[in-house]
Each structure stands twice: as C-alpha cells, then as structure tokens.
C-alpha cells in the first residue's frame, strides 16, 4: 500500500461527492475506480466489507464507507479528510439553492413537480427497502423484529427507542439461543 497525501485523499472524495446523486448507495463503483484501481489503497474485497458494515452502523452509508476507506489510507486524519470531502458538495449545493428554492416553490407548476417527485421519492424509498430486505429480514427472528418495530413505528414510538431495543433484542436472542449466532456471522462475511 502506498502513502497518499491528505489533500489528495480529500480531493478524491470531493470528486466522488460531486457525482453521487440520489443518495450514497452509488458510491461503490467510484471507490473501485479511484481507491482500488488507481490509488491501490485497498482491495475490492475490503471495500465490500466496509460497505456491508456501513449499512449496519449508525451514520450515512456513503459517509461511513468513506471513513473506513480514509482510515485504511491514513488513519483518523485520513478518515476525516475522506468524509469531509464526500460531504462538502452536498452541503455547498443545498446552501447554494436554498434561497433560490423558497422563491421558485411558490409557482403552481413547481408545486405540481414536487407532488409528482414525492411519488418518485416514495418509490425510491420502497425500492431501498427491497434491497435491504434480503440481508436484513431472512429468518423467524428478524421477521418478528420487523413486525414489532413496524407496529411500534406506526404507534409513533420514538425511533431512538425502537433502534436501541432492537439491538438489545438481537444481543439477548443470541445469548439465549447461541446456536443461531452463525446467522449473524455469515452475514457480515458476505
């Protein structure tokens, strides 16, 4: 593994942040091109591991993958350079259009566009659910957690409580029935 400067690391991730549209799920092909093939910082296998883990830990998938990759390259400073780079375009673009946005959203045609966009966004969210489903909800226990957390969410229970109790239930389940713990292991190894 060769040494990479923090500025270069920031710049690579800034460019990736600029071309990431519709959420962070599209980060993998860019990381492959820049960090695996061009800079040879890490292997594709490592990137895939980072991606799987990033989905399961708090924070944004794109942000977490960037931090993992940056950490691999230059430790904590590298993680910071990478995540700062990948987030900066998102920040700048919202700041740039915000003032503009409140002026244009008063036009009826713009409101109509936003209403139709909502339908598309709804589809994108439901498709994300489908994608996450296969490695998240796959046995009796995970179906059980899905149903109770869905019910809790419908009943307006705070998402903080839902997420934390689900994690505790996962821990409890594997302590009470340790024979099934390979399920969880296999998953992270994917």
């Amino acid at each position: 593994m060769k040494k990479i400067s923090l500025i270069k690391l920031f710049w690579i991730f800034f460019k990736i942040g600029l071309v990431l549209f519709g959420g962070g799920y599209a980060i993998l092909p860019f990381l492959k091109a820049e960090m695996v093939e061009k800079e040879k910082i890490c292997s594709m296998e490592e990137i895939t591991n980072y991606y799987a883990l990033s989905q399961c830990f708090p924070g944004l998938v794109a942000g977490n993958v960037s931090m993992f990759t940056g950490y691999k390259a230059r430790g904590i400073a590298g993680a910071f350079a990478a995540v700062f780079g990948v987030c900066l375009p998102a920040f700048i673009s919202i700041v740039a259009i915000f003032a503009f946005l409140s002026i244009i959203t008063n036009y009826p045609i713009v409101q109509n566009i936003f209403e139709i966009l909502d339908i598309a966004v709804c589809i994108l969210i439901l498709l994300t659910v489908l994608e996450l489903w296969e490695f998240s909800v796959y046995d009796k226990f995970t179906v059980f957690i899905f149903i109770i957390t869905l019910t809790a969410a419908i009943l307006n229970i705070s998402p903080f409580i839902i997420v934390i109790s689900a994690g505790i239930l996962g821990l409890l389940k594997n302590f009470l029935f340790p024979k099934n713990k390979k399920d969880a292991k296999e998953d992270v190894n994917e």
Partner: protein
C-alpha cells in the same frame, strides 16, 4: 437554549442511532416535526425531493436543509458536523477494532436485531409519503367523500414509477428526471 443548539443536539442523537443510510433519517425528521414544529411534513417531502436532485449523500443534504431552515448557514454547518460526529467516532473506533479482531459476536448479534428494525423504519418513511400523495385519509375524514380516499392519477403514477424504478435501480437520478418531466406535462 436557542434553536440551533437544540437542533444540533437532536441531530447528534440522530447521527448516533440512524442506521442504514440517509433514508433512515426521515422517520427522525417526522419526530422533530412533532416535537418542535420548526417545519412541517410537506417541507420534509420537499427536502427529500431536493436532496435527491443535489449531489452528495442524502443525509447531508437533509441535515444542511434542516439546519439552514432553523438557523441559517451557521445552523447548517453546526447541524451537519453534529450529525457526522457520532458516526465518525464510531467508525474510527470500529476500523481500529477491526484491524485487531475480524469477528465479534456481540457486535454481530446486535446488528442481527438492528437491521430488520432499520428496514421497518425506512418502510414507514415510504408509507408516510404514500399517505400524503396517493391516499388522502385526512381529506376523507372531513369530506366523507369516498372518491377523496385515493388519488387516481397519483396511484397510476405510483405504479408506473414503481415499474420504472425497478428497471432503473442503478440510476435513481433518471427516475427523478422522469418525475420532473412528468410534473411539467401532467397536472396532478
């Protein structure tokens, strides 16, 4: 305590528990709406749409959006930093930890319970938007007109976009572009 600081603390809490990417933040935004009334549900859906149109991770777009709404540009900067801080600490510790132990059963078993909960929360986010665009339960409860329950045009678009979305999974940007063009041509 002023709003910017409250928002930063709330967003730091969101950053500490929101698992599974930017869409997971949406249910927490509904929670903020309920608790503080800084913005409303319609603004959240607008935020999601704008976040899909702008480059970068959706969660950062939304944090910037919420921050700027509540406290201007400094509010936006503080919210974004607060949002990223917990995951930065967690991922750095985890990356260090992973260097030493490849597998840890405690982490893995917690994740095993967390993932289906994250999926449930994201589903709710999608269903809430569907409830305001395709179904109009609230309108029905005041008018008692059966025709108000479901918007025909919106449900047709939902099916069409659903089919297109399945084909365009790698390029969600195209679906957003199609929705904008449809919005220019079709009155809903």
């Amino acid at each position: 305590m002023n709003n910017i600081l409250i928002l930063a603390i709330e967003y730091m809490k969101i950053g500490a528990v929101a698992i599974g990417g930017g869409y997971t933040v949406i249910p927490f935004l509904y929670y903020l709406v309920d608790k503080y009334k800084w913005f409303d549900i319609a603004e959240i859906t607008q935020m999601i749409a704008v976040s899909n149109l702008t480059p970068g991770p959706i969660g950062i777009n939304m944090a910037t959006f919420v921050g700027i709404k509540v406290g201007g540009i400094w509010g936006a900067a503080l919210t974004t930093v607060a949002f990223m801080l917990p995951s930065f600490i967690i991922i750095c510790l985890l990356a260090k930890f992973l260097k030493r132990n490849k597998e840890n059963k405690y982490i893995n078993s917690a994740l095993y319970g967390l993932r289906p909960a994250a999926v449930a929360l994201i589903s709710i986010a999608g269903l809430k938007i569907m409830n305001t665009t395709v179904f109009h339960i609230e309108k029905f409860t005041t008018s008692h007109n059966i025709g108000d329950i479901i918007s025909l045009k919106a449900s047709i678009l939902l099916v069409i976009f659903g089919i297109m979305g399945l084909k365009l999974r790698k390029n969600p940007m195209i679906l957003i572009a199609i929705a904008i063009i449809t919005g220019l041509l079709v009155k809903i």
